[in-house]
């Protein structure tokens, strides 16, 4: 094989020499034949002609000999490619348009595929990641499909299961790191010592946890996540062994993790369970209802998810029987599991599948368009092809030549596409990070490039094959002198029409998709969030919890923060709260639901226990975010720990639980009636967990009756950013050990909350705009050719008295017929695409008539404009010139 390859290569570079030798050999033959003829007594001139006659066409033999010489694919390819490159070089306009549309199409596909592959398809970066599952304890009747686990529960699942190789736990808590310029809040994952072994993770540096690290009283140790290591230590390998002072203890760094997707949340560092004071307290361990941890497990080899689910459900059933108090019958407790892969990717799936479809459609359009351009060009090349056929090129040879040209175009296009994809990769990774923790795994790796190669070859075949197969040059008319307008086969014209129809149809589907997203985005922006986000500054303040150990100390910290912040010039009103509207954490995790009971209403065991989204707010919270009071009163400073326990509820809860009754004055309890809380007011609803989510049942408790809150909110009279530095000073003045993070404005939080639909809309819109542009160019091209081919006919018509407007109508009718057929087909295609999109839409039906109509009208208008230009040219045809040209 290498030998023949070498021979092929040698032959390629010897083509010139071979040509010369062939020439000499033929000449020698003819001379010998001529001399032989002369010897037979024929006149020299006659002899030469006779020799030529007996030899046949010299050029045809040369071509045959060349074919023998070049019947190795590589050489043919080289020859065809060089010729193709020359042909393309001679038509820069065509080449540029084709390469550009193909490049955009292939680039869009490469980029989106890199995301789909990196996020959805690539195996998890854990050893045998397919065996990893996440356990989920659910209480469907209590509308809670992801309860966490208590220590007791984890112990039982671990001890009793038959199907799991190992079980590990995970929860997340905040620490404060000292020693830097400012205290830094560190998000720490607290995991069992076997966590990394179970996940099959080898550390990048150092080691992972050993069982001894988890022992009570062991030295505190840390493992850094890759991202945190890069961010705060710039990838310095000497970080292993360094000591971090966090809260009241020194923690030694023992290792650094490789880049991994983190689930269920992003963490800076990992610690063993002994590091968390809550998790290690005896009271917590003994409490079966203290559910705080997530549970990961690895299936035993050969065990399926459903087998494990059945096995674990049995354990859950036994627990329910043994501890009926901990598993109320009306909650419907149960256990299920999901593969880690699914958990990591399901958020991204709908969006990226829709985008992949859209990108695929754009590429189809680019194919159709290039096929159309190629067809148009073929008509002009009819004579060249006829000449080549006359010189002995077979049909197969011509098709091969045309296909090579298509391949060349699509390969150049794909090179451009890969550049475009590389350029947009960063943006896409950031975009994907909004949907999945796996975004960091997206790259233009070999698999993606292979995909691009396959796509571009397929593209070249798709847009090259139809025109190439239609290339059946009929020698006589094409070569006839003066046949300046080669006859166009009806079949080919039909093919071009069909391509335009397909383009219109695909564009319609894409435009409807983009239109629906846009409508949905507008609806989202119109949603009344229930509060006024303008000029409200938010920051998270984390106190050092080893210094503030009691609830009262925390409350005092919060109160002092309010006091100091209020004193900063420009602060209109100041509040502390346990969260704020459209907080990214809330968007990701949903309501903080707590069971409660209403005084005077006996709990109904057949109905789920009432639940409410529980929040803590200081007295001025409502005024700060401008949440209107509807009934009763708001909190005052008198609502403190000594006073009567009170609460404010939202309108939805009032309507849901009290209907037409007045909830003010009613009492509820969160502890089975041990203590009662009086409702003193009703406030408006807030879109707390996303503008697209209906308000939940919400309840606010005054901060002075609780143990403080973590978010500082300030409504400012000036631009919020101006106050930032002074506010930070105020926070450090209260306690220099306070850590500040998540500083932003409510306005920004609101914008961020719809960033993913906005970006999805932009991408789909981009694809749709591309589609419409390509289609308009396609229609204009086809119509222009149709007009130039009918010049003669139109000339006759006009000479016979047809008016300019009549000609205009005739051409427009021809074009718009195609467009209307395309629109009709597009309706069918759009039904399919938009059904896929229904999960991405908000307050808009996939069949929204307004969008469909608007899109149809827009597309028809663009198409009409594209027809109009060539049609206008038709009306300017000078009948005399048209007739004389024949």
């Amino acid at each position: 094989m290498p030998n023949s390859l070498l021979r092929s290569l040698r032959t390629i570079f010897r083509i010139k020499r071979t040509e010369r030798e062939m020439e000499r050999e033929m000449r020698f033959h003819l001379e010998m034949e001529t001399e032989e003829n002369v010897r037979r007594g024929i006149s020299p001139e006659e002899a030469r002609l006779a020799a030529l006659r007996s030899f046949g066409g010299v050029e045809r033999f040369k071509e045959e000999c060349r074919d023998v010489k070049r019947n190795r694919p590589l050489e043919t390819l080289w020859q065809d490619a060089r010729f193709g490159a020359r042909v393309l070089g001679r038509n820069p306009g065509f080449t540029l348009l084709a390469v550009l549309t193909l490049g955009l199409g292939i680039g869009a596909n490469t980029a989106i595929f890199s995301v789909v592959y990196g996020v959805l398809l690539r195996p998890l970066p854990y050893q045998q990641g397919g065996q990893l599952v996440v356990l989920k304890q659910q209480a469907p009747l209590a509308r809670n499909d992801n309860l966490n686990f208590s220590v007791k529960e984890i112990e039982e699942y671990r001890a009793q299961n038959q199907t799991l190789a190992d079980v590990a736990e995970h929860h997340s808590m905040a620490f404060t790191l000292f020693g830097g310029p400012e205290p830094e809040r560190i998000q720490a994952a607290v995991v069992s010592a076997n966590f990394f072994e179970l996940m099959g993770v080898t550390p990048l540096l150092g080691r992972t946890f050993a069982p001894s690290d988890e022992a009570h009283g062991a030295d505190a140790v840390l493992i850094l996540s890759y991202k945190y290591w890069q961010r705060s230590h710039k990838g310095d390998p000497s970080v292993v062994g360094r000591v971090f002072r966090m809260n009241d203890r020194p923690h030694t760094v023992i290792g650094v993790l490789p880049p991994l997707p983190q689930y269920p949340n992003e963490n800076d560092v990992y610690m063993p369970t002994s590091a968390c004071p809550t998790r290690s307290s005896e009271q917590f361990i003994a409490n079966r209802q203290a559910r705080m941890m997530s549970v990961f497990a690895r299936l035993k080899a050969g065990v399926s998810e459903s087998q494990a689910r059945a096995d674990l459900s049995m354990i859950a059933g036994r627990m329910k029987e043994s501890y009926p108090d901990d598993y109320p019958a009306n909650a419907g407790f149960g256990l299920t599991l999901a593969s880690l892969h699914k958990e990591l990717t399901q958020g991204a799936q709908p969006t990226f599948l829709v985008l992949l479809c859209a990108a695929g459609l754009v590429l189809l359009l680019a194919c159709a368009n290039t096929a159309n351009l190629t067809l148009a060009r073929l008509m002009r090349r009819e004579r060249e092809l006829a000449v080549r056929a006359a010189l002995g090129a077979t049909r197969g040879r011509l098709i091969r030549q045309l296909l090579t040209e298509s391949m060349l175009l699509s390969l150049i296009g794909s090179a451009l596409g890969v550049l475009l994809a590389a350029w947009s990769l960063r943006l896409l990774v950031n975009f994907a990070a909004r949907f999945t923790p796996r975004a960091a795994e997206i790259s233009l790796d070999n698999t993606v490039l292979l995909f691009t190669l396959v796509v571009s070859v397929a593209t070249g075949l798709v847009f090259g094959l139809a025109p190439a197969l239609s290339a059946r040059p009929s020698l006589v008319p094409s070569l006839k002198e003066g046949g300046g307008q080669p006859a166009v086969s009806a079949g080919r014209q039909r093919l071009r029409g069909a391509l335009v129809v397909a383009q219109v149809a695909v564009s319609f589907a894409l435009l409807v998709g983009a239109g629906l997203m846009l409508r949905s985005l507008f609806k989202l922006r119109e949603v009344n969030p229930g509060f006024d986000p303008e000029r409200v500054l938010v920051m998270r303040v984390t106190g050092n919890w080893s210094k503030h150990t009691t609830g009262q100390q925390y409350r005092d910290l919060s109160l002092r923060l309010i006091e100091r912040a209020q004193a900063v010039p420009g602060a209109l009103s100041t509040a502390m709260a346990s969260t704020y509207p459209l907080n990214p954490f809330g968007l990701a995790n949903g309501p903080n639901n707590v069971n409660f009971q209403i005084e005077g209403r006996a709990p109904n065991p057949n109905e789920p226990t009432p639940q409410v989204d529980f929040r803590i707010a200081s007295a001025d919270y409502f005024r700060t975010i401008r949440l209107p009071l509807l009934k009763g009163r708001l909190f005052t400073e008198a609502d403190d720990a000594q006073a009567r326990q009170v609460a404010v509820i939202n309108q939805t809860l009032a309507r849901h639980r009290w209907g037409n009754e007045d909830p003010v004055g009613q009492r509820i309890s969160f502890n089975q009636g041990q203590s009662w809380i009086t409702i003193v007011g009703v406030v408006g609803d807030v879109r707390q967990y996303g503008l697209n989510r209906e308000p939940a049942d919400e309840l606010y408790r005054p901060m002075r009756q609780t143990s403080g809150a973590g978010y500082l909110l300030v409504r400012t009279t000036v631009t919020p950013s101006v106050m930032m530095a002074q506010l930070r000073q105020a926070v450090y003045a209260v306690d220099p050990e306070n850590a500040i993070d998540q500083t932003q404005t409510l306005e920004n939080a609101r914008n961020e909350s719809i960033a993913s639909p906005r970006l999805t809309t932009m991408l789909l819109g981009l694809f749709a705009a591309l589609a419409v542009f390509i289609t308009a160019a396609g229609i204009a091209g086809v119509m222009a050719l149709a007009v130039s081919q009918r010049t003669h006919e139109i000339g006759i018509r006009m000479a016979l008295g047809a008016s300019a407007s009549g000609v205009l109508r005739m051409i427009l009718r021809q074009g718009l017929t195609l467009v209307l057929i395309g629109l009709a087909l597009g309706v069918a295609g759009a039904f399919a695409l938009t059904r896929l999109m229904s999960t991405l839409l908000f307050a808009v039906e996939p069949t929204d008539p307004l969008t469909w109509l608007a899109v149809a009208v827009t597309l028809a208008a663009v198409a009409a404009a594209a027809c109009f230009i060539p049609a206008r040219r038709a009306t300017r045809i000078d009948p005399l010139a048209a007739l004389r040209s024949e």
Partner: protein, 110 residues
């Protein structure tokens, strides 16, 4: 074309070329002349198919070519049988003989 001349069977041209070159190295025109002479003018080689055949045989490695001086001192391309070509000729000759013997038998039985 005269009636007494026969068109060559597909594939036999290669064999005839190999056979001719087995006698001595020769140029293309020489090959065509020689075949006509030896077959007493019965086999008429279409010169148009001679050269592609020569190129094909060379491509397969059965013959090789080099430039040399002809009888009248002109540069001509001479073709020469290779070792592989000789083996190929033996095989094809054996095949041909089997085939023609078989045809002979059929014709005589008729």
């Amino acid at each position: 074309m005269a009636k007494t001349k026969s068109d060559l069977l597909q594939g036999t041209l290669d064999m005839l070329i190999l056979k001719t070159l087995a006698l001595e190295p020769m140029h293309g025109w020489g090959v065509s002349q020689r075949i006509q002479q030896i077959s007493s003018g019965v086999l008429n080689i279409n010169q148009g198919s001679l050269y592609p055949a020569l190129y094909r045989l060379e491509d397969q490695g059965w013959i090789k070519s080099e430039w040399g001086a002809s009888d009248n001192n002109r540069q001509a391309k001479y073709y020469k049988l290779t070792r592989a070509g000789r083996k190929q000729l033996d095989e094809e000759t054996a095949n041909w003989q089997r085939l023609s013997a078989a045809i002979e038998q059929v014709l005589q039985a008729g």
